[in-house]
């Protein structure tokens, strides 16, 4: 569990609806470009890497209730755009197996797609300065931590009421839904976004999930770094 797959029914409709729309738009742009550029050669590679990710997830890790993902590895090999497509397909497969919901496929794709993108960017930036293993380890660690922060951000956003979102985005204030909610600070110039987040950040949830995710993050980092090191030795032209 180095990253979160939201299940169905726990997030409000406006959030997962937005997730589906954003993912749909990103996918449409990527697929349109893929079709235009005649990148047929990359088509099987995406499919094969989806299969590798699903295979890695199927491997039991002994007593640990975790599974590998290899999302960052896919990001490094495929690049952020194609990795986004691969992540969407993996999430679609996983949702049919109860691992992450079908309505939240969009949000899960955004979270894990971001992981792949950060992994790719991080590895590209660090590659000239470090050996592939070190660059991959650092990139994976950063990607997993940032993606989990993004996921926590989504959970926090799910706790904001409609009126608070309107306030934060500068929309019309139509009254507060929380009986004990005092708006005196925001009336005196305090940042409404900071105030809303202070009040709604689910600290308990973040603490539990961080503790649960930490071993998974370390495990994934070690495995990805090792695989990249191995590939760099036997297939040096790949990176």
């Amino acid at each position: 569990m180095s990253h979160l797959h939201f299940p169905d029914g726990v997030l409000p409709v406006y959030l997962w609806g937005a997730g589906l729309i954003i993912t749909g738009v990103i996918l449409a742009v990527i697929l349109y470009r893929l079709g235009k550029q005649d990148q047929v050669k990359k088509l099987p590679l995406v499919g094969v890497l989806v299969a590798v990710m699903l295979l890695a997830m199927s491997i039991p890790l002994g007593f640990l209730p975790y599974h590998l993902n290899l999302t960052v590895l896919s990001g490094i090999i495929l690049g952020p755009a194609l990795a986004f497509v691969a992540v969407f397909i993996v999430n679609l497969f996983l949702s049919f197996m109860g691992h992450g919901g079908i309505t939240v496929v969009g949000l899960n794709t955004l979270v894990i797609g971001l992981e792949a993108a950060i992994g790719f960017v991080g590895f590209s930036l660090l590659k000239p300065f470090f050996r592939p293993t070190g660059a991959a380890a650092a990139a994976t660690l950063c990607a997993l931590i940032l993606s989990i922060i993004f996921a926590f951000g989504i959970v926090t956003a799910s706790q904001l009421s409609y009126t608070e979102i309107m306030e934060v985005t500068g929309g019309e204030h139509v009254g507060c839904t929380h009986p004990g909610h005092d708006h005196s600070d925001s009336q005196h110039g305090a940042n409404p976004l900071v105030e809303a987040l202070k009040e709604n950040t689910p600290v308990g949830f973040i603490q539990i999930m961080s503790a649960a995710a930490l071993p998974g993050i370390l495990l994934e980092t070690i495995v990805v770094a090792f695989i990249i090191g191995y590939l760099a030795r036997v297939k040096p032209g790949l990176f």
């Binding site: 299969a51 590798v52 199927s58 209730p65 397909i89 495995v223 590939l231």
Partner: protein
Amino acid sequence: MDLAYLDYLAAHGESPLHKASAPSKFFMLFIFISFIIISHSVIFLALSGLIILTLFALSKLPIKKILHLLFYPLFFSSVFALSGLGGTLSPAALVLKAVNTAALLILLLCTTPYYRIFSLLSVFLPALLVDILFISYRSFFLLIRQLSGLFTALRLRGGLQRGRFLSNLKNITSALAVTLLRSFELNERLYQVIQLRGYRQGFVGQREKILWSSCDLLPLLVGTAAGLIFFLL
């Protein structure tokens, strides 16, 4: 996450739900999941759980072997519920929503072969995406055979032993790295096949003809019943 096992169950089942067409099962799923998501009633959600359990029993699926798949939605939604998240929803409703939806999707996967699901998805998804889905599915089964062989070799040579977590992890990682290398070879071969046959988007070709039967009544009735129960409660 034993995709191969679920695929086996879908391909070898003989129950009415296995024989029902994919569109009728999708209809049931769509109606059921929609009501589960909008419902706040614990009674409706608990009843839905019972109906889903009955469907599993009717489909003669080995519930004990599939049950572990519900661990993730159960765990995640429990953390959500125990942390006081979920707004006006009660903790029980939150957990039931996540578990019921996941169980329904697993039911679909265990009773419908993947190619039928893809065939139906191709109506909504772009052809390029469906092509990648098919390649992924095919590659998964080609690669799982190779990985299983590697794991058997590892076990025979004492590479996977109880209590030796770090050593096991190192060997598992090596096996994965080798599988990844083979996947590149597989990619090259698939590309050559695509080139040779002359690729055009949507090589999945014609959609499967839907054959309606009396078995379709079951998912259609269950979907309708779910809607009725929702409005009655």
